[in-house]
Symmetry: C3
Subunit: 308 residues, 3 copies
């Protein structure tokens, strides 16, 4: 097939079809950094991180380096000329001339799309605002696919902060390429925003719950997100609900045998360390799948005629 | 010809002749990072930035990486041992043993020269104090040369903060290898320092103005620099003059057809975004020329017998 | 011989025998980054620095890059997800999946050992707490070995802050593989901790002094460490003693002819710059030996059958 990622932007998970995603998974399955260790020789990836990030930034760096490419950039706006008052447009136009593709993280919605319109090189959205984190959704889907063999017909619980967690929206749109039933489980305050919800309902079978224990026995996947204290106007409100948004081991007595628990990380108290050694815990393996997906994605963006 | 850059320091633009510069331009014209992508394999460039910088630092990194070399270093003094009170001498002696050449930026005049005396490896001045930024001058001259075919006999307006803008002094000394007429245009408060002015007057034909509109019709080049509010003792004084140091589109009605507008970037309000799409705007292309010049310079510093 | 470093952790100098160290020195003597410039191609070293560091971090980066490998990571906890409250375990598990070995610095004792238990990739301790800095001890020993031809039977003075200087403990344990006489010279407040002292006394011949001038004529090596003002509860106490913990040139009249002065750097006032040009000063050469030792160590960790 024609490589649908070659020289393309990755701004939103919505820009890719199920076929595109499955081709990406196929390449991630087969990518071998030993045989491809010179594949991206001479390619420079620009890391343009206006928000700090360990996992996402290092995941891209590791992927790029393992294919023979290099990375340059900045990982916080304080070390860039934006401190001198430089505008975003000029920073992007500049980076565009130094690199072969850009990976961008920004606190505002829409910045990745804006960047893709300004830049002549491919722009990969590594998280913009609260809405999009397409490569996270790709790796989340890939993890489910690898661990359970399919994404269709699963019961998938998404649990925690559904309002501000930027990975949730991308994941939901990604899932809409398949036909799972999605259980959204969150405190009232952190429910999915209503505009997104009505949009998503047209594409996906959705149930809303406020208690994980009500639905846990049905789930094939629990996708947990971090609840941030600072989202609550009143700390007492946080203290009141936090116990309900923690996957206690007692909850896990009543589950399907091959339930998997995922988390985009970093986690806070919602998954206690005691879960790490259970068979359900796949959130560390998810990190490894993340490197594979990003390696595959970079390889495809830079390679017109890939080996796979 | 013998490569005049091989294993040499680049501390001041004054250390290079017109022949040297034109050889550099010739290499920048011909440098091909595909055929030279292994040229600097095993070379390590040390980035020693005591002041933050996006453009200059990333430009060097991009150039070095595209020729197969690597970069290490720090981009702000806070992440270096200088926080533990280490003196500059020891930091430089240390870096000198880890790398094959150093790129140095420092807020004080004279530090690059000091470094070049301490270090046994070539030192490239990436901006020290308010006086010198030789690689910026090289790329500025190269941009003029590429866009207008010559630097001789041009009318070149230098506009904005001529007192504190470190690129201005280097550019003037660079221009003194050619015979342009230079129009210095600035508020009284930000005029070129008198000692430098009298020195420059011996080498260059200079006119001083306080209003761009008085001379714009004669100019082949407008080189704009950023006016920083904080230079003014009184913010009202800044507010009063700032309108005169902005290239308004109305000013551009009366210009030569092939006028070019340059800026070392980052810009503030002195060039409105509406100019970006005019034929005069070359400040983004200037960034690309910057990468070419720095690639050529690094290649020549590390290569005794270059291909060009 | 079998390579004792292959795929091994480097947590404590105590984990290595005299034979191991001498094999490392042998490789450091012979390592040639020209012939080995592709040796670590495709290897990624993770730099996990929870405390800032110039020298150690850049030394590892320079060593890794010179052998064809690459580095990723962070050099201060502020730019990592630990700011979002991520726990150390998760940061380490994540890095472990992105890299082929980790270099770790942390302000707490025991973290490197903890990391080595969590990670499946080799962990190199680049300083944890006040106790261990094994690669510094390796390069200190190598410097003595190179400059004096032996470590046995020497009189070695260790001078300055023996309580908090993390290099001191590692060096003492390293020296216990040989049979020098060690003179510990420090203010009362900064003496070696008593538990370590009694442990070390079983392995090494130790004398304690509070005045360098009492013993300087006997010494083959002076190993100086930085006295940090902030260790003193009372600044007047610091001011009172600091003069005694400075290697004045007058002290050097009465020394052995081939005395060498070392310092793990960065230095403060304990070695005045005027000493730098004396024949005794080896602390800058020590930096070069440091790069060689770290190059050798990385080469051996990643290479089952080394060339040497």
């Amino acid at each position: 097939m024609t490589n649908p990622f070659y020289n393309k932007n990755v701004v939103s998970i919505r820009d890719f079809t199920r076929n595109d995603l499955e081709y990406l998974f196929h390449v991630a399955d087969n990518i071998n950094s030993n045989s491809l260790c010179e594949a991206l020789r001479n390619k420079i990836l620009g890391l343009v991180f206006f928000e700090p990030s360990t996992r996402t930034r290092l995941s891209f760096e590791s992927a790029m380096n393992s294919l023979g490419g290099t990375c340059i950039g900045f990982s916080e706006s304080s070390s860039s000329s934006t401190e001198k008052g430089e505008n975003l447009n000029d920073t992007l136009v500049t980076m565009n001339q130094y690199v072969d593709a850009l990976v961008l993280r920004h606190q505002k919605d829409g910045v990745a799309r804006f960047a893709s319109e300004i830049c002549t090189k491919p722009v990969i959205n590594a998280g913009s605002g609260t809405e999009e984190h397409p490569t996270q959704a790709m790796l989340d889907l890939y993890t489910i696919f690898k661990e359970l063999g399919t994404i269709d017909n699963l019961n998938i619980g998404i649990f925690g902060d559904l309002k501000y967690g930027r990975t949730v929206y991308s994941l939901l749109y990604g899932l809409s390429n398949y036909n799972p039933t999605v259980y959204l489980i969150s405190p009232d305050l952190l429910q999915l925003r209503s505009d997104a919800l009505s949009d998503i309902r047209e594409k996906l079978s959705i149930e809303q719950h406020s208690n994980l224990s009500d639905v846990i026995s049905k789930l094939d996947v629990i996708y947990t997100t971090r609840i941030q204290k600072e989202r609550f106007p009143d700390i007492q409100e946080y203290e009141r609900v936090k116990g309900s948004y923690r996957i206690d081991e007692s909850l896990l007595k009543n589950t399907k045998d091959n339930l998997i628990i995922l988390h985009p990380m970093p986690r806070s108290e919602e998954i206690p360390p005691s879960l790490d050694t259970t068979k359900y815990a796949k959130y560390f393996k998810q990190i490894r799948y993340g490197k594979l997906i990003r390696s595959a994605l970079l390889y495809l963006i830079f390679t017109e005629h890939p080996e796979y």
